[in-house]
Amino acid sequence: MTQNQENLLIAVASGKGGTGKTTFATNLAWTLSGDSDRVIYMDCDVEEPNGHLFLNPEWSAAREVKVGIPIVDQDRCIHCGKCGRICRFNAIADLGTRVMTFHDLCHSCGGCMLVCPVQAITEQWNPIGMIRRGHSGALSVIQGELNIGHPTSPPVIREVKAEASGTGIRIIDCPPGTSCPVMESVKGSDFVLLVTESTPFGLFDLRMMVEMLGLLKLKLGVAINRKGLGDRSVYQFCEQRQIPVLMELEDDRKIAEAYSRGELAVVSFPHLKERFRKLMQAVLKRIRT
């Protein structure tokens, strides 16, 4: 075992789901946890947190994630209308006789509370999701889960990241896509590993992702899942953009079947561990240069 004092944050992401993002994140985290102390797998795909299905962690702690939403004391209100004007999300409106709130639309910015001249608005803390902490062997697992029917995941993602702060190697399983939840997840990471398939869909989604990460100026590399499927377009794209392809995993029905049984690839096929170790070395090299 090598002692690890390092503080590394590596995000595993993909433009769309189902490209093997969770496979790479869980297998990488699991492999590393056999080699180093303090490895944390963080499931930031809070709309569909799936990592636990493969890691089977034993949960040791759980807490709710809450966001503040406004509660209006109608008797105090003088109907100045300011709360409705400051709210960018149409989540509060002064109707003249009553102030209405729409909690689903609220982004918890706190603006209405600050602006109310008579302190008629107070904050109520409503649960929108859960954070769970546990471990699977030597691997620490932190998971966020958004409640059904609640539209906005970034507050839950922020809490997962806060829960995992500290030292160690932290692997983030990001939500799919290129919009706000993904930005929230990759923010502050030392490296982003983009998982894709070399197919027309894979290429299009990868391109969107690379553009987004370009805006954030993060270091990145690509891992290709189901190698052998599709065409060469993703490889050509990576070459053009000078993005390193750091690992390839073959299109193998056996791996897919093991996955369908909820097995980690590196557990069913231990020889794959070496490949994930190499992947980590390649990532480290890129971070340090």
Binding site: S108, P176, C180, K187, F201, L215
Partner: protein, 300 residues
């Protein structure tokens, strides 16, 4: 007019390929790609754009460095840790505040409370949306700017435009490629729709996501049916999904076998039913037929 939304908890379950096949099988559909985060449907539909418009992605705050007095109000009121005290000096103060656009939520509270009008609050481009023509009918789709917010609003906009178009052209079916997940874009994709088709896989994630998607459909009172793709990867889990669907009153609309022909079809820009006749194309046709029966049965 009927809105059918095809969703999957996670992506990559063959949802988009299935939508493309339904587009080929449906009589006079309007096609909508609401998976605005991974808008891949156009890669098969090969749309010819007739109209393209900008989509406003909400506002962002920006410090007008010249006006900043470094009073710190913006940092005090911001709840998203988007304000940093590391902007350049401006003659009056040696350091100014700066807002990280990636962290800014667009709430405008700093803009409201700044005593020196030092915070600009400007509309940003969220992306573009298009009305196009395809071999199967008109299509609505969009391209989000990377990292843009408000994808839920964009989804609602696309659906609204699709309804207008369907009405104008007398088309009966609107086929929607829905967003993955259970958050704001997918909620925008399914609210008020007539029918949700949940595409899933017989894997632990697939089962988990199927449950969450089914809960979501139930939460919004939309009738749902389900399709298991790559069903032969794990027969027991396929069986489990079927049983759960029955239990929840969700119609089990059929299965599709594990077959790399899906990727071959994608490479030749065709839907499965256009690319091949036998095998999984037949399975897809059966699913479409069953869907039609379910919907007529659910007619009010």
């Amino acid at each position: 007019m009927k809105e059918i939304v095809i969703i999957s908890g996670k992506g990559g379950t063959g949802k988009t390929s299935l939508v493309a096949s339904f587009a080929a099988l449906a009589e006079a559909p309007v096609i909508v790609d609401c998976d605005v985060d991974a808008s891949d449907l156009h890669l098969i539909m090969d749309p010819v754009t007739l109209k393209s418009e900008e989509f406003k992605g909400g506002k962002l705050a920006r410090v007008r460095t010249g006006h900043c007095t470094a009073c710190g109000k913006c940092e005090e009121v911001c709840r998203y840790d988007a304000v940093f005290f590391d902007g350049p000096g401006n003659g009056r103060v040696s350091r100014t505040f700066r807002i990280d656009p990636a962290a800014c939520e667009g709430c405008g509270v700093c803009h409201w409370f700044c005593d020196y009008q030092a915070i600009a609050f400007e509309e940003r481009i969220g992306g573009r949306w298009f009305i196009s023509d395809t071999r199967h009918g008109p299509m609505l789709h969009a391209l989000m700017s990377p990292g843009a917010e408000n994808s839920g609003k964009l989804v609602s906009l696309l659906r609204m435009k699709a309804k207008e178009l369907a009405k104008a052209k007398n088309r009966e079916v609107i086929l929607i490629d829905g967003s993955p997940g259970i958050g704001c874009p997918v909620i925008a994709s399914i609210t008020g729709a007539d029918h949700v088709v949940i595409v899933t896989e017989p894997t632990p994630s697939g089962v988990h996501d199927f449950r969450r998607a089914a809960d979501l459909a139930a939460f919004f009172h939309i009738t749902a049916c389900t399709v298991v793709n790559k069903w032969d990867l794990n027969r027991e889990l396929t069986e489990l999904i079927k049983e759960e669907a029955d239990h929840r009153g969700i119609v089990f609309a059929g299965t599709i076998a594990y077959d790399n022909i899906v990727t071959e079809a994608q490479l030749s820009k065709k839907s499965i039913v256009e690319y091949t006749q036998g095998g999984i194309a037949r399975q897809v046709r059966d699913i479409w037929t069953r869907l039609g029966q379910t919907m007529t049965r659910n007619q009010p």
